[in-house]
Amino acid sequence: MLAVAISVAPAAEKAASKFESVSAFPGSVKLHAGREGHSLRVSGRDTDGFEQHLNGAKLVSDQPTIATINERGEIVGLKPGKAVVTATSEGQSATLAVEVVAAPDRGMSFQLDILPVLTRTGCNLGGCHAKPNGQNGFKLSIFAYDPKGDHYNVVKDGRGRRVFPAHPEESLLLKKATMKVDHKGGQRFEKGSEHYNTLLRWLKEGMPYEQPGEPKLERISVFPEQRNYRRGAKQPLLIRAHYSNGEVRDVTRLAEFDSNDKDLATIDEDGVVTVGSLAGEGVVVARYMGLVEISRVTIPAENTFPDSLYAELPVNNFIDELVYERLQTLGIAPSHSCTDAEFLRRVSLDIVGVLPTAEQARAFIGDNDPGKRAKLVDELLEHPGYADLWAGRWADLLRPNPQRVGVKSVYLLDEWLRDSFRRNKPYDRMVREIVTAQGSTHRYGPVVVFRDRRKPEDVGEWFSQIFLGVRMECARCHHHPNEKWGQEDFFQFAAWFKDIGRKGKGISAPISGDFETIFYRKGRDVTHPVTGEAMKPIPLGTKPVPVPDSSDPREALADWMTNPENPYFARAVVNRIWADFFGQGIVMPVDDFRASNPPTNEPLIDALAEDFVENGFDLKHLMRTIANSRVYQLSSTPNDSNVADTENYSRSYRRRLPAEVMLDAVADFTEAPLSFQGMPSGSRATATWNYKLGSEFLDAFGRPNSSAQCPCERDVRPSVVQALHMMHSNKLQAKLADKNGRAAKLAASGKSPEQIVQELYLSAYGREPRAEEIRVALTAFYGAEATRQTAIEDVMWALVNSAEFVFNH
């Protein structure tokens, strides 16, 4: 869009300049005579093709009586007519067409003119007057979500003490903000400043809320939308507001700014971007009156590798091409391939959550079939552990607190999830079955989600996050600070869940022993909390879809969600699965898709989503594609170019094993069975169906807290409690010393210490020990008081307490 309007005049002394050309944005402006000015941005294109902001360009108007340049460098319209402004810098110039028209005969408006000032000067920040109870008696809505309420509070509340129509200058509103009277929030602007004058003019005009027929703000735009920068470059953004009547205003000084990656680039309160010293891509966010736009910041790598490096990299599927493309832009070379042993351990833990056995490791390493990695992936996808691992992942998103909704219904949900993954139910169908679930909580697993979340608002907020990757929580109370979502969007989405009938005992914690039946019944309207208006069910960020009047609207919602064209649904799930395989989502956090939090590799997430949809929402297909990619099979050992890369998949990122997988790994390695309350001895931790089953181990390793509401964030960080537990727990020692455990069996066997060490390495790490490792491990057998049993226990202790065991690498 930015390129369209630019008109560049050829320059005379081009040869002398380091810039090939100079341009000005916008190419043309339309101004109201006697009203606020409009600034412009002058850029020069250097010989390397970088556009650079040119500070202090000289601006000259050819019709200074029509349009002139003010002290801030803005173009100001004086009387109707046309003018041309020439911007000269670096010996070159660009021109800009100015049209000045008579200002519309329109007075000041609270909505249009005053709220932006209150927002920009920070009056309605969460820590100031937008606190839940306001500040010192004066309350504004956060991010101005309730303009009518704000108008009331400024003009009428407190018996109108904040405004003094007879002497506008004496209004408390102005005196506080300028610190004429004591103000805890300090001075917000000076007397005579632009903000001051705006407020004063509005006070003088009688403080109207709006003007008849005033234009509506439709969108904002940012210049530049995208730019390649050199390190350390500075770029002032230009934010323009576009109104329903075609009016365009420069609102840069009224906008607020944020950067999503402050290492890459920062942005100050005036909207000046300062680029850091790293190569990469990020966005800065501009916000004005609930509208959000981004400007993309690209800092190309300084040292790039030749094309041949990337051309020669092996490509297993489209993932590799798209990742390499990105790496090339960033000047990163990927790590080399992981070893077969590493691959076996990694992919087994990722797909089924189970350590490979010594036999599997020997067989896989010794297999000469060039297609053995792909064959292994296929085998794992049919392994019974698959359903248990992935049902557990979804349980993190869905599983309610059994002490709230009842044990049986939680158990049934768990069964249903395991069954769905066992049968590889297409993902669209699985989600549809949850979203439209009805019936008895004692008969049909998914129903319990509606027993747990009882208000349409709670269901909508939850589902949009877990199934669509859109966090609407903010928009429940006010406009989302970094996204387009407003309260209307939130409550329109909640309205999908208004027609849910519930019959039965309801929640009677702590037991909730009785069942509840969920069915379709016309329910109460969901209303907008500010306007009180009844909300119609409308999908997120799009036009309404037809909703039949006499049947459950959830069916129509499921149709929209699982439609192949849905922009959120497939992307959200492929990102989740990707994150499970790489420890890092293409969007992070995995359920926080928004313009201001863009994917690190947009083509990649698009291609994955498209492939997933084309293949019938088949999760196994998606996992197979990921696991077969060369990128998934890279080593975790970095090279000089990718050591700092943590989001472009140029190497494998190490991940601590999740709680249940870790416990199963310990149990498999020690061959000492686990036991959980109410489950048969020998049950696996990935088969636990309830976070309340007591386990110090699982708690230490960050299993979700069953008392918290899902989606449950898992703490995947290592911690001192984990280290203490692994090193000193009586329970772990008991597993090592178990009479029927691996140590005891090996001790009683005829194997030599060296064979034993080999066995332990293959079982724990899926690889053969190196000669030096054997030598060190054997010392355990020769201690003065060592027996075969204690020596084996001690080696095993050392292995499970090592990073190579605790991490997937």
Binding site: S707, P718, V720, S729, F807
Partner: protein
């Protein structure tokens, strides 16, 4: 915040000397203890950052009538069957159920005027363990968490030092005692078991019984040479195995620190002291908490449930309170005698008080409109009663404080800024304490 804890330079110094003499093993752990003591000695006063807390959680909601707020003037049907007794503070009376605490009333403050509006266990627990009400009504049996508990917040604020988790709980976690969005590493470290038993061991911080020190050392040496996965030390690489190593080092430091190990071994305590706390599970848990505070555990919760006296309160409560009376009184005296009271805050509370009207089963039901909270140490004045309930004990009626005020005060005492804004994992800002103001009587 300095100046809030203003007294007793001498005791801080004594603290320093005692710890200094004990510091034989020159490891990081002892250094930490010495540093803390040094800091206290240098400033001549305890700093809120040195204050540790022992919180006794009376799950179920103890009656205020039958503990610290007897109402001998109240009419029949409200007054109850138990008498009030004099305390060591002239003019202050407790119920006859707490004779030992009455003797040390001069070392504590009783707040009689904390009130809120949640009469359910689930909600009341949450309010009094986190300082935040539940955003939705929560039933009586519910275990819920919407906000980080006091202990988790203190852990988040202070972090793990030298392998010692900052937040521990004996012998089980209370309903809302978890970390919520602060993450599992700030969950309470649960020390199960009964310290009154001979075979009691604090889990995970001491070697398993069958593992000798020599064998443990061999194991660690073996691990050091076998843990071969290459570490990526470049900071930007964000390699989690680097943090993993530092946690292991801390864990080793803890298990090889003679002082820390001695602290965990309650059998090393003078038998007379053990008797004083009472040779019962609660008494020994309280003693264990003191020992944990000595080695720098920032926040220890003692769980002591069984206060939901809907029936026969006049016979069951006096029995149930006996170990508490003995143990907490011993704890406060002991801390005082050891010069630890300045740096240790003792809090005893439940989720609410109980109904004025005695019900048909000779019990009292849930009543959040008045409750009594015991607080001692950390510069909290002794012999003080804060606020009051009306003459019949229905409502807090003077200097009424909210759970938010209580949370504000607790955090201030521990050097945590109560106006901190935390962020949930959705990025949403959350006030650590929503409003609230210090309970001024605790800061005189």
């Amino acid at each position: 915040m300095t100046g809030i804890n203003s007294n007793c330079a001498g005791q801080s110094r004594r603290d320093f000397i005692r710890l200094g003499l004990g510091g034989a093993a020159g490891l990081g752990f002892s250094d930490l203890l010495r540093l803390r003591a040094n800091a206290a000695a240098a400033t001549g006063q305890s700093s809120p950052n040195n204050v540790n807390c022992i919180l006794v959680w009376l799950d179920g909601g103890p009656s205020h009538y039958e503990t610290f707020d007897p109402k001998p003037e109240a009419p029949d049907g409200v007054r109850g069957e138990l008498k009030s007794i004099k305390t060591s503070v002239p003019g202050t009376h407790f119920c006859e159920t707490v004779p030992e605490l009455a003797k040390v009333a001069d070392k504590m403050t009783i707040i009689r005027s904390i009130a809120h509006k949640d009469p359910n266990h689930g909600g009341g627990n949450h309010y009094m363990m986190t300082g935040a009400p539940t955003p939705v009504p929560v039933g009586c049996g519910s275990f819920v968490t919407f906000h980080p508990s006091f202990g988790s917040t203190v852990s988040y604020h202070r972090g793990v030092k030298n392998g010692l988790p900052a937040y521990m709980t004996l012998d089980r976690v209370s309903r809302s005692g978890g970390p919520n969005f602060l993450g599992a590493q700030h969950a309470p470290f649960v020390i199960g078991g009964d310290p009154n038993r001979d075979d009691f061991q604090v889990r995970d911080v001491v070697l398993p019984r069958e593992i000798s020190e020599g064998r443990a050392e061999n194991r660690r040496a073996l691990r050091a040479s076998l843990d071969q996965l290459e570490r990526i030390h470049h900071k930007a690489a964000a390699d989690p195995t680097v943090g993993f190593d530092s946690f292991y080092q801390q864990g080793v430091g803890l298990v090889t620190s003679r002082e820390a190990q001695a602290a965990f071994d309650i059998s090393k305590e003078d038998p007379k002291v053990r008797e004083k706390y009472g040779r019962h599970s609660l008494g020994q848990r309280l003693l264990m908490a003191r020992r944990l505070a000595e080695v720098g555990v920032s926040f220890t919760t003692i769980y002591y449930g069984g206060w939901d006296h809907h029936t026969k309160i006049f016979t069951s409560l006096p029995k149930h309170i006996k170990p508490l009376d003995q143990g907490v009184a011993a704890l406060i005296s002991d801390l005082d005698e050891r010069g630890m009271l300045d740096n240790t805050m003792v809090i005893v509370l439940g989720e609410f008080g109980r109904t004025p009207k005695i019900n048909k089963d000779a019990g009292r039901d849930h009543w959040p409109h008045a409750m009594s909270v015991l607080m001692a140490g950390a510069g909290i004045p002794g012999g003080q009663i804060v606020g009051a309930t009306d003459v019949k004990g229905y409502h807090a009626s003077e200097n009424i404080y909210s759970p938010e005020d209580f949370a504000f005060s607790l955090y201030t005492k521990m050097g945590v800024d109560p106006t901190t804004v935390l962020h949930k994992n959705t990025g949403r800002p959350v006030q650590l304490v929503n409003g609230g103001a210090p309970i001024k009587e605790l800061f005189v």
